[in-house]
């Protein structure tokens, strides 16, 4: 026994760094954030007085927060279906043999190679209303950064650009795993491509699809960096999202309590989404 486990402390020492980091940078800040949301907090981040849910009441009455909540939900509502449609069409269209198809596939996942800040800077320049290539090429006169709807559309477009690479890879991998003999039978039986997808491919890729949908919803609710680089929440707060407002309140206005309250709302939203995933995984998905 002594030989096998020379020191009982050894495993604890081995996991100590991971454990310390988990506490220091995940659990401690999480608990403090939730705690801060129940207090008034000084500029230096010290909790002063316990005020219960007053921060939440103030927050939900705050027009800026209402705008953030509305924008985040609106963004999620537009982004998720559009993104899924685009990524799934890309995966379906390029799911065929041949060299041209391989080239199509490479093009579809190539955006994954571009970092977030690079791709946002590219879009910022391409969509510049006066000298950007998009307006010039399409003969448009859209004020992408000064029009509420255009700015939101741009943000959705940016989100798709960021996600298409990975989503495409996941979905096309799932499609390639659909057994070819089943597809062959469907073809011989005279099923068209819509029927093949509806009754064969769709059900067989449902677990991957569900994973993609749920991570998309989660990412959409947490969107902040693209807003920061592209639109800075404007025009007139029309693209200000929850995490972006949290950043503004915490780092620009020094309003720690409100920032922490928004963070707690965000935690609650993401937890609910993840619980929904677990629930759906158990009940609805068809596994082979």
């Amino acid at each position: 026994m002594k030989l096998r486990y020379p020191q009982w402390t050894k495993p604890y020492l081995l996991i100590a760094p991971a454990l310390a980091l988990a506490v220091l940078f995940s659990y401690r800040p999480f608990v403090l954030t939730v705690l801060n949301s129940l207090y008034t907090v000084s500029l230096s981040g010290k909790r002063i007085t316990f005020i219960g849910f007053d921060n939440y009441i103030r927050l939900f009455a705050n027009p800026s927060f209402q705008a953030s909540l509305y924008n985040t939900l609106r963004f999620t509502l537009f982004f998720v279906p559009i993104n899924i449609t685009i990524c799934l069409s890309a995966a379906l269209l390029s799911n065929r043999p041949g060299r041209l198809a391989t080239l199509n596939q490479i093009f579809f996942f190539l955006p994954m190679a571009v970092s977030l800040s690079s791709s946002m800077m590219i879009l910022k320049m391409m969509f510049n209303p006066s000298i950007g290539i998009i307006n010039q090429l399409l003969h448009l006169d859209v004020q992408w950064f000064n029009n509420r709807h255009a700015a939101m559309a741009l943000l959705v477009f940016a989100g798709v650009g960021l996600d298409i690479g990975l989503n495409f890879l996941l979905l096309s991998a799932a499609l390639r795993n659909v057994p070819t003999d089943l597809l062959e039978v469907a073809r011989i039986e005279g099923a068209n491509s819509v029927q093949t997808f509806r009754y064969l491919q769709g059900p067989l890729i449902s677990s991957t699809l569900l994973f993609v949908v749920v991570t998309n919803i989660k990412d959409a609710m947490l969107i902040s960096s693209p807003v920061m680089i592209l639109t800075e929440g404007g025009p007139f707060r029309s693209t200000q999202t929850l995490v972006y407002q949290m950043y503004l309140e915490g780092f620009k206005s020094g309003n720690y309590a409100i920032g922490s309250t928004i963070a707690t709302v965000v935690f609650t939203l993401t937890f609910s989404i993840l619980l929904l995933l677990l629930h759906l995984e158990r009940r609805r998905v068809y596994y082979q």
Binding site: L3, R4, W8, P11, Y12, L14, I15, P17, A18, L19, L21, A22, F25, S26, Y27, R28, P29, F30, T33, N36, G45, A90, S94, R96, L100, A101, T102, L103, N104, Q105, F107, F108, F109, L110, P111, A113, V114, S115, S117, M121, L123, I131, Q136, L170, A174, T208, F211, K218, L222, S224, V243, M246, Y247, G250, F251, Y256, S260, A263, F267, L274
Partner: protein, 268 residues
């Protein structure tokens, strides 16, 4: 029908790759090419001037070395922590093993972006703002890596280690001469993933660096000062420079990348 699919797919994929292709092309534009009517897709006379200016008129090189350094150090520390943790959770029996394992893996449920307020306070209290350690601090724990390494280590028989220990082999020797070499493929994949995650991070480095000379390239790229003055050439040159190595890698390795996704996520 087949031909139509091919045509639609090709047009669609060209649209997806257009921003990347345009950026590369525009990095060789002359200033007048951006305002030409009708709009230009290719440079009139290709010029390398933008690349020269991107380096000489900004601190791009400093930003780049900050990023490379922090991503390299971050990856090494992060992999070490993950490997040691996974090793303990696979080959040792100890009190509270499952509890601690779940405790570490469950941090995946806490979105890092929503924790930035408190994490920033921690880093400020520790006086780590504007340091490399501050930049990499929140990325050092990778619960997914620890989890995946443990899954892999579990396929290695526990008897190997027991035999090795009976023969008088130390844990560090077992790790470096047996376990790490046989897990090379997984470790390299995760290390590449770590490197690109830390290298591409934007929000956290933005918060913890105030001094220009400490900025990482992802943050610095948005503040080069070119695009604000509609001076797009050098900005596109900087972006092209940054993305080219990864683009080339992706194109060269497209087959293994697609295959690794297919086996990792669908379990076959």
């Amino acid at each position: 029908m087949k031909r139509l699919t091919a045509v639609v797919a090709t047009l669609f994929s060209l649209a997806v790759v257009f921003p990347i292709a345009y950026s590369i092309s525009a990095s060789f534009f002359q200033w007048a090419d951006f305002t030409a009517i009708p709009a230009r897709l290719l440079p009139s006379v290709p010029t390398f001037d933008n690349y020269r200016r991107a380096f000489s008129e900004s601190n791009l090189l400093v930003f780049l070395s900050n990023s490379l350094y922090s991503a390299l150090v971050g990856t090494v520390v992060r992999m070490t922590i993950s490997i040691l943790g996974a090793y303990a959770f696979t080959f040792f029996s100890f009190k509270g093993k499952n509890f601690f394992f779940i405790l570490i893996v469950a941090t995946m449920l806490l979105p890092p972006d929503a924790l930035i307020l408190e994490n920033y306070t921690t880093i400020r209290t520790l006086r780590l703002t504007d340091t490399y350690l501050g930049i990499i601090s929140t990325t050092l724990l990778a619960p997914t890596h620890l989890f995946m390494l443990r899954q892999y280590f579990l396929t290695v028989s526990r008897e190997y280690r027991e035999a090795a220990v009976l023969e008088g082999c130390s844990d560090s020797r077992f790790l470096t001469t047996l376990l790490i070499p046989i897990s090379k493929a997984v470790i390299i994949t995760l290390a590449i993933h770590s490197f690109s995650t830390i290298f591409n991070d934007y929000l956290w480095p933005l918060l913890v660096t105030n001094r220009e000379m400490m900025r990482t390239v992802q943050v610095g790229l948005t503040m080069l000062g070119f695009s604000e003055n509609l001076d797009y050439g050098p900005q596109f040159a900087a972006i092209t420079l940054l993305m080219s190595p990864i683009l080339i890698t992706f194109i060269a390795l497209h087959k293994p990348i697609q295959d690794s996704v297919s086996t990792r996520f669908t379990g076959r």
